[in-house]
């Protein structure tokens, strides 16, 4: 099962950029029962912890993506198409996976699969026995859908105020964090369904 999905800012390496890594959208699928906490405001503390865990993942993805970009020698503006109508070559986008040990920062050990499409990063936080190949292709699919349907790379859009679309896509393609074995036709059908419910 997928524990969480997040979208965050991704700065290119080599740029003198003093801004911080920001999580633009995150969805945690279900919260585990936390240990009994006699102190008051336990619920708020849990939420705070969750937010911080997600930020930790985002920061780590950002640094790994920057290192990979440096190693490959790709110039920072490589993946920003001039017109948002061109399909973004997602199979060439930097991607990878890393392991998070138990307690650092999640209670259980997790694996993170990430994809970088500058200036955004996408990541899935998974349990360790997941089918990584399926997770990878699901993440690419989600990124493609989000980039298409929200036109994320066009200069005027703002992802922050269109969370309902993201939720609509997730509800169909990653419901409750369940990775789905969708062949091409299933994907098309779900996309049609989504476009009908959320006209552009």
């Amino acid at each position: 099962m997928v524990h969480a999905f997040l979208i965050h800012t991704l700065r290119a390496p080599n740029l003198e950029d003093a801004s911080l890594c920001r999580v633009l959208y995150s969805c945690v699928f279900g919260t585990e029962k936390s240990a009994d906490d006699p102190r008051p405001h336990g619920a708020e503390r849990d939420r705070l912890l969750q937010k911080e865990q997600i930020l930790t993942v985002a920061r780590q993805v950002e640094s790994l993506c920057q290192l990979q970009q440096q190693a490959c020698g790709r110039p920072p503006t490589d993946l920003q198409p001039q017109s948002s109508d061109e399909p973004v070559p997602l199979h060439e986008a930097p991607h990878g996976a890393f392991y998070l040990a138990a307690g650092d920062p999640f209670q259980e050990p997790k694996i993170v699969v990430w994809l970088g499409v500058l200036p955004l990063g996408f990541a899935l936080v998974l349990d360790i026995h997941e089918n990584l190949l399926l997770a990878e292709s699901t993440l690419r699919l989600l990124a493609r859908l989000l980039l298409d349907h929200l036109r994320l790379l066009a200069p005027s859009t703002n992802l922050l105020l269109r969370a309902d679309r993201i939720e609509g896509i997730l509800a169909r393609f990653l419901p409750h964090g369940q990775l789905l074995f969708l062949n091409d036709q299933f994907v098309q059908d779900l996309e049609k369904e989504f476009s009908a419910a959320w006209p552009r």
Binding site: M1, T9, R22, Y25, V28, T31, E32, K33, A43, D46, L48, E52, S63, L64, L67, Q68, A71, G73, P75, E92, H95, G96, A97, F98, Y99, V113, L120, D127, I128, H129, N131, L132, L133, L134, S137, L153, P155, T157, N158, L159, L160, L161, A163, D164, E167, G168, A171, P175, H176, G177, Q178, F181, L182, N183, D184, Q185, F186, D189, A197, W198
Partner: protein
């Protein structure tokens, strides 16, 4: 998307004050009570941002929360509104004043949204149980009103992963039965299109049969690799059911492997019982759990067969590969739960292994295959051997550049360390050069994993070879880069840095003169021999500024530390000596990546000292080599840290207490060499080419000379003379102009201290060559033999002497 706009919007959302927020909530409440329109959507989108932008809690007006919950459950709410309400409530979760219940949901889609909120509460109020109860109520009622059951399966999957043990026996059986239906008996006809539309013909067209991914008509039951124009409801459920199958099997598997069922079917070959279970007639009589396993097995077999076909669409081709991985994973679970499946599974998987690697991307199934054989390999040692060889010998050298494959293989190795038998461990140890290729190419995400893996890879037989390889790891990165660039069949997209041009290195790579060295560097197995790669250091110099090489170089010091902490656990005397010699040898011959040398020198010096501490007699045994090392004065500055450590080690361990074989001749020989060295160092003038000797070197030399003199007391007059000369030199104006004030001061003070100590030879001996007992705490606590007492006495004597000295 300009990041400044994002930044400012987030800032605004975070900084909204409570008063303004409450006013906004009232506006939202008003809008929610009216008919939904674009203003409502806009307001809710903003509210979502405000709630999600900060990690601190946002307290919304009670009425607002109530209306959000209400709107979520209204039958007439459009999906967009429901989604936003659920998202806002979920973003606030966990929070205490939630009054939502799944009973309010009107249809399964709404139930899904409500469940997403409830499951985010952290099960504080038994929400998980309520959600699962409701789902089963819907499932039991065979004709659910409203939308389909397919929204429920993912919720169920999440429920059992959040709270295992929450379902009752009859619920488990019910779902197992339904899953069997959906997986095995989904319709093999295509579905009808949803709506006719204006231009559709009035007569109902007969839907055709479903097809395989290569266009042929489906040969057997429907699976996720079957396709068509439109899907029926049960085909959707088939896809959903397979997606959650492995989770469900693990959840509903037997708790106790020692049940009577498992005992009967424990023989994988030739027993009549296993033959019977292969036929489907007997399987209909099985209880739901066992029936599901049987169906799961058939499904996996079908998927493996279907993945042989050449898919027409790329998306389907990718899915085929993911299905192969999943099928192997599910078969692994099935065999673990019921060993009678093993016999049939092994023949499937043998055929699979032969096909892997033909299609790029299909080799990803090798890791789950290896895991399978690891779990069940006693039954098929020949096949498992082939898989392990493929995994460890071929794959790393062919696909070291794939970040996902690298991660999976290394994760497989570290995760299963406890399970590996001595045979596999042996294979793993011999394959370390190949595994290091992953590390050399992509060090940042893999370094921590390798630190965990190194203790298993280090072996007495290959330790030296491995140390050489670790020190040459950045060279390996460069060589791999050259290998890719020179490859006759380049991939569609260059995997190396195209802006970085190194024609001379490419030439060197292709030069037959250096073939042997490059082949040695890129070997796949530990060779047992060691080749000096110094010529390559020179040749690959232009690549030292390549970013990938620099990243690898940064990881090496950490890996060296891990290596040494592993090897010192089991190294015997001979190996320790060899390691020490290796450190001395390699200290001067490293690949010149910026800052790499300095960092590695630090590690090598501290490890040299650690080895000496582990085996003090090392200094005496390697006296000849150490003498040679300290004899060369020209390169002191470039290897100051190692030099200082070696000199210190000589002073510390060249004594009879550390090794009875230490002779006076040896001490004298070292003394002479170090004395000559110190003389040269202090007499030479600094110039642009020969910078000043660092003060630590000078003080260490002085201290070591004094230590040696305290052991061979004839040398004391010579040392005392030298030290007083040093003291004078340190105070002279010429020296003060060359060195910093603190340095000359330190040298002067040290020289004075040493001189004082040498005036009392037996005290000097005591201080510089303490017996083993002195290092015990007891020596200091016991009031009768306490060192402090002795020291107090000595210091009083020294003070008395010092007051009598001139100047």
């Amino acid at each position: 998307m300009p990041s400044a706009g994002v930044e400012s919007l987030l800032q605004q959302a975070r900084e909204i004050q409570n008063g303004e927020l409450q006013r906004f909530c009232s506006r939202v409440s008003k809008l929610l009570q009216e008919d939904p329109g674009p203003a409502t959507i806009d307001a809710l989108q903003r509210l979502f941002l405000i709630v999600s932008a900060t990690k601190y809690p946002r307290r919304l007006e009670k009425m607002c929360i109530y209306l959000l919950q209400n709107t979520l459950c209204l039958p007439t709410s459009p999906e967009q509104l429901q989604v936003l309400c659920a998202a806002i409530l979920r973003e606030m979760s966990p929070f205490d004043s939630l009054a939502l219940s799944c009973d309010h949901a009107q249809n399964t889609r709404q139930l899904s949204f409500v469940a997403s909120v409830l499951l985010a509460q952290g099960d504080r109020g038994e929400e998980v149980r309520h959600v699962s109860q409701r789902i089963f109520t819907v499932l039991e009622n065979r004709q659910p009103e409203g939308s389909s059951v397919r929204h429920l399966l993912p919720i169920l999957s999440k429920v059992i992963s959040l709270a295992p043990g929450i379902l009752q026996e009859d619920q488990t059986n019910l779902l197992s039965k339904r899953l069997v239906d959906w997986l095995r008996y989904a319709s093999i006809q295509q579905g009808l299109p949803h709506s006719g539309g204006f231009f559709s013909t009035p007569r109902i067209r007969q839907p055709g049969p479903i097809t395989e991914v290569d266009g042929a008509v489906a040969s057997d039951f429907f699976t996720v690799l079957s396709t068509g124009q439109h899907f029926t409801e049960d085909q959707w459920l088939n896809m959903q059911a397979f997606s959650m199958l492995r989770t469900w099997l693990l959840y509903s598997g037997p708790e106790d492997p020692g049940t009577p069922d498992a005992d009967d079917k424990s023989e994988p070959e030739g027993s009549t019982l296993s033959v019977l279970s292969a036929t489907s007639t007997a399987s209909h009589l099985l209880p739901p759990r066992e029936r599901l396993r049987e169906v799961a097995f058939e499904y996996c077999q079908r998927l493996l067969e279907q993945s042989n076909r050449r898919a027409l669409r790329k998306g389907d081709s990718d899915l085929q590969k993911a299905c192969v991985v999943e099928a192997v994973l599910v078969l692994d679970v099935l065999c673990r739960q019921d060993p009678s499946f093993l016999y049939r599974t092994l023949s499937c998987l043998k055929a699979l292994h032969r096909r892997l690697g033909e299609d790029p991307g299909s080799e990803r199934a090798l890791v789950p295959l290896a895991q399978f054989f690891l779990n069940h390999g006693e039954a098929a040692t020949v096949d498992s051997e082939a898989v392990y060889q493929h995994l460890l010998s071929r794959l790393p050298s062919e696909r070291f550049h794939s970040p996902m494959l690298a991660f999976e293989i290394i994760h497989f190795c570290t995760y299963n360390l406890a399970l590996f038998d001595s045979h596999f461990l042996g294979l793993l140890k011999m394959s370390f050069p190949n595994l290091f290729k992953f590390l050399a190419w992509n060090s940042p995400p893999l370094t921590a994993k390798f630190v965990a893996l190194l203790p298993a890879l280090v072996d007495a037989g290959t330790a030296l070879e491995m140390l050489h390889m670790l020190l040459d790891l950045p060279c390996l990165t460069a060589a791999l880069d050259l290998q890719l660039r020179s490859s006759p069949t380049p991939s569609e997209r260059p995997l190396w840095d195209t802006t970085f041009r190194i024609p001379s290195c490419l030439e060197a790579f292709r030069d037959p003169q250096f073939q042997g060295l490059f082949q040695y560097l890129l070997r796949t197995k530990a060779s047992g021999s060691m080749e000096g790669l110094t010529p390559l250091h020179q040749l690959l110099q232009p690549m030292a500024s390549c970013a990938r090489v620099a990243q690898c170089a940064e990881a090496v010091p950490t890996l060296l530390q891990a290596f040494f902490s592993a090897v010192t656990q089991f190294a015997n005397g001979a190996l320790i000596n060899q390691l020490a010699l290796l450190l001395l040898e390699r200290n001067d011959s490293l690949y010149q990546v910026p800052q790499y040398e300095a960092r590695v020198h630090r590690v090598l010096s501290s490890q040299f000292l650690a080895l000496c501490k582990l085996k003090p007699s090392l200094v005496v045994e390697l006296a000849r080599e150490l003498l040679e090392f300290v004899g060369r004065v020209s390169s002191i500055h470039s290897r100051a840290s190692m030099f200082t450590c070696v000199v210190w080690a000589i002073g510390e361990y060249l004594s009879v207490t550390c090794d009875r074989r230490c002779t006076v001749e040896q001490i004298n020989k070292f003394f002479e060499a170090l004395e000559a060295l110190l003389f040269e160092v202090t007499q030479s003038r600094s110039s642009v080419d020969l910078p000043c000797c660092p003060p630590e070197v000078v003080t260490t030399l002085m201290t070591t000379l004094t230590k040696l003199a305290s052991r061979s007391q004839d040398l004391i007059p010579r040392v005392s003379l030298f030290l007083s000369k040093m003291r004078t030199l340190a105070q002279s104006p010429t020296t003060s102009s060359m060195h910093r004030k603190e340095d000359t001061e330190a040298i002067r003070i040290r020289a004075t201290e040493l001189l004082m100590l040498l005036k009392m030879p037996s005290v000097a001996q005591f201080v510089f060559t303490p017996t083993v007992g002195v290092c015990q705490p007891r020596y200091h606590r016991d009031t009768n033999t306490a060192l402090p007492l002795a020291l107090r006495m000595v210091s009083r004597l020294v003070e008395k002497e010092a007051s009598l000295l001139p100047g």
